[in-house]
Amino acid sequence: MADKTKKKKKEDITFFHPDIFEVPEDSPPYLKGWKCKQCGTIWFPKFSPCPNPDCWSEDMEIVPLSRKGKIYSYTDMYIGQLELKAYMPMTVAYVDLPEGIRVFAQLDGEVGTFNCEDEVEVVAGPVRDNMDGKPITSYKFKKIS
């Protein structure tokens, strides 16, 4: 029988996503790579089992990724998702990490201040609001000054 008592609405997430991003209290934040112990490939974001079709191993370990990378490309977006109006304009980028991984991310900083090949480092910051109107924290990249 269906439960007719009203359940308390579950609060929406305020952190995205513990499996891919770590913000330690006493050291800088870092992205988590998912390394396959069988074929050795490092994946980002989380893939488990390993998406290498010749592997598909379930044996994955988390490895911290480099905190610093280079902007492969960026754009200042003035029109975006409806739910992100308060965040516009927003600069997004592909950041290349030395592990050979490319990460898509929002950039922390003013529009019009970024260029291809700029060096950036990972930081924590709000990326969008949740269903309760509270900011969700995740990774962003900031120019190394």
């Binding site: 995205f16 994946w43 980002f44 974001p45 998406p51 492969y72 490309s73 960026y74 754009t75 200042d76 977006m77 003035y78 029109i79 975006g80 998702q81 409806l82 992100l84 965040y87 927003m90 997004v92 980028a93 592909y94 290349d96 050979g100 991984i101 490319r102 898509f104 991310a105 929002q106 260029n115 291809c116 090949e117 990326v127 969008r128 995740s138």
Partner: protein, 384 residues
């Protein structure tokens, strides 16, 4: 596979249309059946492409033509590639000998289903979508890198929009607000959407539909089709998955899809007279000259500047005006590209005819999926 021919085409002028997708679809189904000069009873199966309008889209469309219950209707979804994938599916069914005649339809109404002032977004289940990307942002990232690597300017990018709108000047099916002459200043100084892409470098989210009827050689003879258009190749590929440092000034899946079509047909880019591509943004067409093999890597901008991609050039790109002049109703575009290629080969494009066109290529990608450059790509090569 046996040979497959296009025997009927239908489309309606694109724009902000008050009728929903299934009504737009019905109109092009009826138009294509009349164009072929056959009866609805001659159609053995239907494939319907739609992006985001609902479920059971094809059955809803065909119910009101009275054809529901008389044939299998299969719905096809892959975002922008859906309409062309529907035509591909009909091609496979006829080519395999299951059917003598099959119809591929693409239909979409964006304006009734979307909030204005927002941009098309990948699924929020996709990490890039969650972190805020929109489709124009993904293309802007490519454009910015292209400018960084080649020295191209916004004014260079603008030339694609100027060319395509000019191509559409006399095309009654293109969006009335986007066809005709436009100046560099009007393109460059229009509202910034995502640097360096200004409003007039982006396709509009219009509404529209297209239908293509495919038939076997026997059926072509039986119905006495005057100008059957042969499908030389119909390829569907999925996007290579690569989280690494890939070249965003190239396009792996478009190259993969075109090469598959060139191999299937034995026709190379040097033999192709015209192409309708996924010019949703100015940068995409520029990249596709190279990705499709019409020029060497790095020579795309030169092709555009030298007039090689317009009437009188090596290959006429986007003679209908492309998405930049039609607008881009997600599920409809891929089917309408094929309609327009067939219309050109039949020599029926008064005022925008590619003179002497014998072979045409259509290409449409689909979907923002992180780790791929596009989720899907459908390519057709047609001849007469």
């Amino acid at each position: 596979m046996r040979d497959v021919y296009i025997i009927g085409i239908g489309e309606i002028p694109f724009g902000m249309l008050p009728d929903d997708y299934h009504i737009l679809g019905q109109r092009v189904v009826m138009a294509s059946i009349r164009d072929a000069g056959i009866s609805w009873k001659d159609i053995d199966s239907a494939f319907v492409g739609n992006g985001m309008n609902g479920v059971c889209t094809g059955q809803r469309m065909f119910r009101d033509t009275g054809m529901c219950g008389k044939l299998p209707i299969i719905n096809v979804e892959s975002a922008c590639s859906a309409g062309a994938m529907a035509v591909h599916s009909a091609y496979v069914r006829v080519g395999a000998g299951l059917d003598e005649v099959s119809i591929g339809v693409g239909a979409e109404n964006a304006s009734l289903h979307r909030v204005s002032g927002t941009a098309a977004t990948p699924d929020l289940a996709d990490i890039e979508g969650f972190l805020g990307v929109v489709m124009v942002g993904k293309y802007a990232l490519r454009a910015q890198r292209y400018m960084y690597e080649t020295g191209a300017t916004i004014e260079d990018l603008a030339q694609v929009a100027i060319k395509n709108r000019r191509h559409a000047k006399n095309n009654p099916y293109a969006w009335s607000k986007a066809r005709g002459e436009i100046s560099v200043e009007e393109v460059v100084n229009s509202r910034m959407i995502a640097t360096p892409l200004t409003l007039n470098q982006c396709c509009a989210m219009t509404d529209g539909a297209g239908a293509v009827i495919l038939a076997s050689e026997d059926a072509v003879k039986k119905f006495g089709i005057a100008k059957p258009v042969k499908i030389e190749a119909s390829s569907v590929v999925s996007g290579p998955f690569n989280i690494g440092h890939k070249d965003e000034c190239a396009d792996d899946i478009v190259t993969l899809g075109c090469n598959a079509a060139y191999e299937e047909s034995g026709i190379g880019p040097e033999d192709i007279d015209m192409a309708e591509c996924h010019d949703a943004f100015t940068i995409s067409e520029l990249i596709y000259y190279e990705a499709m093999g019409f020029c060497k890597k790095g020579d795309g901008l030169k092709m555009l500047r030298d007039g090689d991609v317009t009437h009188g050039g090596k290959v006429v790109f986007s003679p209908r005006g492309g998405m930049l002049a039609y607008g881009h109703p997600m599920g409809a575009s891929g089917a309408v590209q094929i309609v327009e290629c067939a219309r050109q080969l039949r020599g029926e494009c008064d005022g925008y005819q590619v003179e002497g066109a014998k072979t045409a290529l259509s290409q449409v990608t689909g979907g923002g999926l992180s780790g791929t450059q596009h989720a899907a790509c459908t390519t057709h090569i047609l001849s007469i």
